[in-house]
């Protein structure tokens, strides 16, 4: 009986193995590894899946790739590293994907990306902002600007506006993204000679930040720097103002806090909130306007920067595919991706630098009346 249970399980796995799509010269499989279930990772995963699938649809409809047709294969890793590795193995060996977009979380990337690197399959991340992602190998790219790229600009703007001498920091201690954002913030503040008078932390799922903020209020900093995701940041900003941290104390956020949710959740309290990003929804370019309109039409909601970056990733692949003349040689494709230069994207012109990091001009944004606008100097 034990054996027959085994046989049953094995045949189930086998059935999955045989059901993979047939390869054809004109089909290009693109793995999309995004968490669409399993906790807060799904927030970003869903947006990126949407962005990538929209781009694939557009590119196929435009006929710009001639005989090549992009096939997006989305797999949900539920933010679970073990599953990310399972998916990468299957996408690489079974589906023979030309490129993998994702994964959603940096922790998944650290576990799964080495497999792609070893197999010589390019990976383009659009939400991993932790340091060390692209150090894993020359096949690993990202379109999400790391915090270290956007924060100095934000701080420079804030210095002009608030002339801060002291700062307080609050960040998510159990979140890879926020923990690394915190380190970047701290280093930048210290190098500008701003004294950090209070450092507080919170954990995923927390909703009450009043204890930490009361402590911060007592330290009376000139600026408050938040290392949190959008919904966390929104609540921190709102509770900070409720507790009486005055508007003269500027509040700054991390790149990941840029979301339309911020204004909705924080309300008026978010006015003056300053953040840096590679992309924002009101960015004034025909390409971006077309993207936002198409996204709204397909999904009935606004895109965020994760959706925008995933969308850009697909256009990068399409552009590289054309220059590499196909996907028969993934080394060539990788080289073509690495050579991406001045591609017209929804956040301006996009290039990869020598470290396969995005070389986009970071923008400093300020919240005003429920909308992010470009910071005026």
């Amino acid at each position: 009986m034990k054996r027959s249970v085994f046989a049953l399980l094995l045949s189930a796995v086998g059935a999955m193995a045989f059901s993979s799509a047939a390869m054809s010269e004109t089909l290009v499989n693109i793995g999309i590894v995004q968490a669409t279930s399993g906790g807060s990772a799904a927030l970003y995963g869903v947006m990126q899946k949407n962005g990538a699938e929209l781009a694939i649809e557009e590119i196929n409809a435009s006929g710009r790739l001639g005989d090549y047709k992009l096939i997006g294969i989305h797999q949900d890793d539920a933010g679970d590293r073990g599953q990310s590795v399972n998916i990468f193995q299957r996408l690489i060996n079974q589906e023979k994907v030309a490129v993998i977009l994702g994964p959603t979380l940096a922790t998944s990337a650290f576990a799964a990306d080495p497999l792609a690197q070893k197999a010589g399959v390019p990976v383009i991340a659009s939400s991993n902002t932790a340091p060390g992602i692209t150090d894993m190998g020359d096949y690993i790219f990202r379109t999400s600007p790391p915090e270290s790229m956007v924060f100095p600009g934000v701080l420079a703007y804030v210095k002009r506006k608030y002339a801060p001498k002291t700062a307080a920091q609050i960040y998510g201690i159990d979140d890879t993204l926020m923990k690394s954002a915190y380190a970047v913030h701290k280093k930048a503040l210290e190098s500008e000679g701003i004294k950090i008078v209070a450092t507080e932390t919170f954990q995923k799922g927390d909703v009450d930040y009043s204890a930490q903020l009361t402590k911060i209020k007592a330290a009376n900093p000139d600026i408050l720097v938040i290392g949190g995701l959008a919904e966390e940041t929104a609540n921190i900003v709102r509770q900070a103002r409720q507790l009486g941290i005055p508007p003269s104390t500027g509040i700054l956020g991390a790149n990941a806090a840029i979301s339309n949710k911020l204004a909705e959740l924080a309300g008026d309290a978010a006015d003056g909130f300053t953040v840096g990003s590679g992309w924002f929804i009101q960015y004034d370019s025909p390409k971006n306007k077309a993207f936002v309109a198409a996204y709204r039409k397909k999904y009935n909601s606004d895109p965020d920067n994760f959706a925008a970056q995933a969308y850009t990733s697909v256009y990068i692949v399409a552009d590289a595919l054309k220059r590499a003349g196909g996907v028969s040689d993934l080394k060539k494709l990788r080289d073509a991706i690495a050579a991406t230069k001045d591609l017209e994207a929804n956040n301006g012109s996009f290039s990869f630098d020598d470290h396969r990091e995005p070389a986009v001009a970071p923008k400093v944004l300020v919240m005003k009346g429920g909308k992010f606008i470009l910071a005026a100097d």
Binding site: S40, I173, K215
Partner: protein, 294 residues
């Protein structure tokens, strides 16, 4: 000094939501000697019920009733589908834990499917935005309202348990199922009523917390479940007054460990304390009240 009082306010308002939620968890334990791991999901569902009601334009008190009823019905559903079936089939008590966890998982998946993964908020209520500043301590009207509502819910539960016939039946079943059967208490219906009450309290707590902190998400129940379990240990499993006291205590412990130790060790302090309490008073801090347990 004003910081101390501000933290006191913070802790009490956080603790009130813990207390309301934990009362439900401990009630079920008192009657059936089991932990219903789906309570966290009822909490989340209550927040969404209240949210949808508020969006339909119902006034807040009515929305709260919707959250209460919604949570309560789900609680009854969990008893009818899972726990009653398991009792009838002689399943091990562990099975109830596993099944209620799976039920919670299903509900989180369902909530994601219906409402999406993004965090939502209650419609802004201008009236509740008012806050007073007394000697540099900020108190929001919202916090006061939520504290009052929590206290009312506690009083209501005490009244139901002490004065109503259902309450007497619940206390009898909690004392002994066999005794209850002998004196003619309808055991099945009484257990169902307990699940209703527990679910309703979870649902109400969900709406209160959702309002207080402006957060409604499919995942909000997971952390609350952990807090609820913590509270019922502090208070003693099955001890309703203990859960109330434990709820406020946990709120204050969390806030003051942030204030005077470090926010990074907040949870370690909370759990370390539980560990300690269990070692010195293995039946909870308020085990002296055992005879008053529901």
């Amino acid at each position: 000094m004003s910081t101390f009082f501000q933290q006191l306010v913070n802790g009490i308002s956080l603790g009130s939501t813990y207390a309301v939620f934990a009362m439900g968890c401990t009630l079920i334990f008192g009657v059936l000697n089991i932990v219903n791991m789906a309570q966290g999901a009822f909490f989340m569902a209550g927040a969404y019920f209240g949210l949808e009601a508020a969006r339909l334009g119902l006034p807040t008190p009515l929305a709260l009733v919707v959250a209460l009823l919604g949570g309560g019905l789900l609680g009854m559903l969990s008893e009818l589908v899972i726990f009653r079936t398991l009792r009838a089939r002689g399943g091990h008590r562990w099975m109830g834990l596993v099944a209620s966890l799976a039920l919670a998982r299903m509900m989180v998946g369902l909530a994601q499917e219906i409402f999406g993964t993004q965090v939502q908020r209650y419609p802004a209520n201008g009236l509740l935005q008012i806050s007073w500043e007394i000697a540099d301590v900020r108190i929001q009207l919202l916090q006061v309202v939520i504290l009052v509502v929590s206290l009312l819910l506690m009083a209501l539960l005490a009244f139901v348990l002490q004065r109503s016939s259902t309450g007497r039946a619940i206390r009898t079943v909690a004392f002994s199922e066999d005794v209850a059967r002998i004196v003619g208490v309808p055991v099945g219906r009484t257990i169902l009523a307990t699940f209703f009450l527990a679910g309703a309290l979870a649902g109400a707590a969900g709406m209160l917390l959702g309002n207080l902190f402006n957060v409604v998400s499919p995942f909000m129940g997971e952390q609350m479940l952990v807090k609820g379990l913590t509270v019922i240990i502090i208070g003693g499993l099955g001890n309703v007054p203990g859960a109330v006291a434990g709820g406020f205590m946990l709120g204050l412990i969390e806030v003051f460990s942030v204030a005077y130790v470090s926010s990074s060790f907040r949870d370690a302090i909370g759990f370390g304390l539980i560990f300690f309490i269990l070692l010195v008073k293995p039946n909870g801090l308020f085990s002296g009240f055992e005879e008053r347990r529901a």
